[in-house]
Each structure stands twice: as structure tokens, then as C-alpha cells.
Amino acid sequence: MGTKSHTVDDKGFDYMANTGREEKDRDTCGMLLAIIIMVFLTLSQYLGWY
């Protein structure tokens, strides 16, 4: 089994390659989701929801 066969699909998409605009967009998605989750969980405690 070749090394790349684990990560590259039949269309040449390598899921472990993370560069350029695509990387920045993924970072933005992760960062926004983290902020949303943390703000929601923290605020809901301060507001007495749990």
C-alpha cells in the first residue's frame, strides 16, 4: 500500500494537504465554531440556563 493511498482520493484530493486559501478558510471555520461554542456555554451559565 503506497503512502499516499491513505490520504489521496481518485480525483487527486489529498485530505492531509492543508495549504493556501483552503487552509485559511478551514482555520476560520474552526475558529468561529470554537468562539460560538465557548461563548454559548459560558454565557448560558452566567445567565443561569444550567
Binding site: 491513505h6 486559501r21 483552503e22 471555520c29 456555554l41
Partner: protein
């Protein structure tokens, strides 16, 4: 992509949400990650008893405690390594179907997400109870170990990306720091796992070595506990070493471990910043690979630092901190599954044994210096006998 070439992604991109692709193409990969995670760990909200974690706990019961520590905990089994191991086994035995790969690319979203959410876990104030000198020793040896690893890497001709992962894992006393450094250093998966195996492997050596060496000094049990935390680290490996010296030393290792734990982010931030500055200074040096591809300080890392500062100011109280950490467990379980699937035996072997030799040499030097410093501190009265 570099060099001004417009990639297929950029041609079809509409907004940053384009990196999520379409639900249809990512679903198989997401399900693969979900099932690996759910059958690896006892995740919050999932009442599934058939997990690798429960199997290891059952085996721990069969083996029995070793110096009061479960065997698989000594091997660092946890919510990161369990799905990684399962993904690795599945990937290497059955391969990874093409239709999974779009979904598995969500690992790159999950990594910054999980690292940011980890920030509330490290509250500096929790270590204040230890007093100044134990905290100073934890922080000093963390920075010293990281620096020594990065400098000695040149001597042993270890790839700078792998050396950075070793520096992060060895200095913080937690191999997970290597996984956290992976997207920042731009290390290959095989290098990360090779380095982590080396750090855990050296932890096993040092937990057997340290009690014997500490026996040559006439330390109080208190500071054998401190020496185990700083010199061995890796959670239960430090506890094994301390309990080998005595019950009181073991209890004090638990007491001092918070000093190592809360400053952990400083360890991996230090390694990243040191390697990032090095790359900026030597932009065209082909030997400098660590952080290559990162043009400026990542915004999400800035968010992590802000969240860490807020955590230190006690913004995230219980149970919100606990709820956020449950999200971290989910996040890293899914990401580790994708990482495990991506790695072949060849990738790990390709990183070679130089990294392990570097880990052993740096680790032994750390233990020798640490015991000498603690002996001086006890004699000088800085650490109360």
C-alpha cells in the same frame, strides 16, 4: 497554492464556508470519524459500552495496578490515542476508501477548534498553592528542555519538524502537545506519531530510571514527587516513578503535577514562536522546514492566547469549563480518528530512530540537571526539607 497558481478550490470558492464542501461528499468521512470515535472512547452523551477505552480498563483490571497505576494509563491511553490507534489499525489493514477523504479533511477544522477550546483547561492560579520555587522549576525546566531539544537536533541531524514535536512533547511532559503543534509546525503525520512514540517510550525508561537515581540523593519524599513530575512527566508515568520511591512521594507528585499542567500552553507556544522566528530569519534555507507554509502569526492561535488569558482571569467557571472540555474530548476524538487513518507504517518508519536518540539524550540530561538543581535548592533552603 504557492507561486500564484490558482487551485481548483479557489476557482470554485464562494466564501470561507466553501471549505465545508457539500454535505453529500463529506458525510461518509464524517461517519467514519464518528464511528471510530464512538467505539474508541466513552464520549460524553454516548452510552456505548463497547469501546476500546472500556477494553483497556478491563485489561487494566486483569493486569492489576503497577505502583497504583493502571497499565494502559502508564502507556498514555486516552481520548486522543485510542481513536488514533483504531484509525491506524483500520487504515493499515483495510485501507481508506476514497469516498471518506473529503469528510476526513475536516481534521483541519477540528484542530484549531479543539486547541482553542482547550484554553479554559489551563488556569495558572491553580498552581499558586505550590509556592514560587516549585513553579519556577517547572517553568524553567520546560523552557530549558525545549531549547536543548531544538539545539541538540542539529547535532543528531533530526528533521526540524520532528524535533519541534519532540521538544513540545518532552518539555511539557505531555505527548499531546506534539499533536497540538502538528498544524503549527506543519509536521507530517508520521513524524508526529514517531516523535510521540519516542516521548512515551522514553517516559517508560525514565520512570524506571528516576527512582534509582533519586535514591542517591537524600531528598525528602516531597521533592522526589516534584522530580518525578518534571523529570518524567506524562501523567501516570510520573506517578509510577514517584510511587516506586514511596507512597508519600506519589501523593506529592499528584500535588505538584498541576504546576506542570497549567503552564503547558507556554511550552508549545514557545516551540512554535522559536521555530516561526527561525523560519522568518532564514526564508530560503532548505533545511528550515518547520512552520514553512505559515506566512504570518495564525489568527486562531491569537484567539487561543486570548481565551487562555481569560481562563487565567477565571472567566470560565465550573461547570462551563467542564462542558467546554467535553466538547474538546469529542473534537480531538474525531480528529485523532482522521489522523490515524492517514498514517501508514511506512510513514512512521520513515522518520527513523534519530528522533528517539535525541529524546533519550535530552531526557537524561534533564533528569541529571534536575536532580542536581533540586539538591542545591534543598541545601540552600529554597525548597523546605
Amino acid at each position: 497554492m504557492a507561486g500564484g497558481v490558482i487551485t481548483i478550490y479557489e476557482q470554485t470558492r464562494k466564501s470561507f464556508l466553501s471549505s465545508l464542501y457539500s454535505f453529500k461528499v463529506v458525510l461518509p468521512g464524517l461517519l467514519a470519524m464518528l464511528f471510530i470515535a464512538v467505539f474508541s472512547n466513552n464520549l460524553p452523551g454516548v452510552p456505548n459500552p463497547f469501546t476500546l477505552e472500556n477494553l483497556f480498563r478491563w485489561l487494566d483490571g486483569v493486569i492489576g495496578p503497577l505502583n497504583h497505576q493502571p497499565f494502559f494509563q502508564i502507556l498514555n491511553s486516552n481520548f486522543v490515542w485510542n481513536p488514533l490507534l483504531m484509525g491506524f489499525i483500520i487504515g493499515n489493514i483495510f485501507g481508506v476508501p476514497h469516498c471518506w477523504k473529503r469528510g476526513l479533511s475536516y481534521i483541519h477544522i477540528l484542530m484549531p477548534l479543539g486547541i482553542i477550546m482547550l484554553a479554559p483547561h489551563f488556569m495558572i492560579g491553580h498552581a499558586f498553592k505550590l509556592g514560587f520555587w516549585p513553579i519556577a522549576l517547572c517553568a524553567g525546566f520546560m523552557l530549558l528542555t525545549a531549547t536543548a531539544t531544538l539545539l541538540l537536533a542539529k547535532l543528531f541531524k533530526v528533521d526540524d519538524r520532528q524535533a519541534s514535536i519532540i521538544a513540545g512533547g518532552l518539555s511539557t511532559g505531555d505527548p499531546h502537545a506534539g499533536i497540538i503543534l502538528m498544524p503549527l509546525i506543519k509536521a507530517k503525520g508520521g513524524q508526529v506519531i514517531n516523535a510521540s512514540i519516542g516521548v512515551i517510550g522514553f517516559g517508560l525508561i525514565s520512570m524506571l530510571l528516576l527512582p534509582g537515581l533519586a535514591g542517591f540523593f537524600d531528598f525528602p519524599q516531597t521533592y522526589i514527587g516534584l522530580a518525578s513530575v518534571i523529570g518524567v512527566g506524562n501523567g501516570h508515568q510520573a506517578l509510577y516513578a514517584a510511587y516506586e520511591s514511596g507512597y508519600e512521594a506519589g501523593r506529592y507528585a499528584l500535588w505538584f503535577d498541576v504546576g506542570r499542567h497549567v503552564i503547558m500552553p507556554a511550552g508549545f507556544l514557545y516551540v512554535f514562536i522559536a521555530m516561526f522566528i527561525r523560519k522568518l530569519r532564514r526564508p530560503d534555507d532548505p533545511k528550515v522546514q518547520a512552520t514553512r507554509g505559515i506566512d504570518k502569526f495564525p489568527v486562531w492561535l491569537g484567539v487561543f492566547i486570548c481565551a487562555w488569558i481569560l481562563a487565567c482571569l477565571h472567566l470560565f467557571k465550573e461547570p462551563a469549563h467542564h462542558a467546554i472540555f467535553n466538547m474538546v474530548q469529542w473534537d480531538f476524538s474525531l480528529a485523532a480518528a482522521a489522523l490515524g487513518l492517514s498514517i501508514s507504517f511506512k510513514d512512521i518508519a520513515a522518520a527513523g530512530v534519530r528522533g528517539f536518540i535525541l529524546t533519550i539524550v535530552t531526557g537524561i540530561l534533564r533528569i541529571a540537571l534536575l536532580l542536581a538543581v533540586i539538591a542545591v535548592c534543598v541545601k540552600a533552603g529554597l525548597l523546605q526539607a
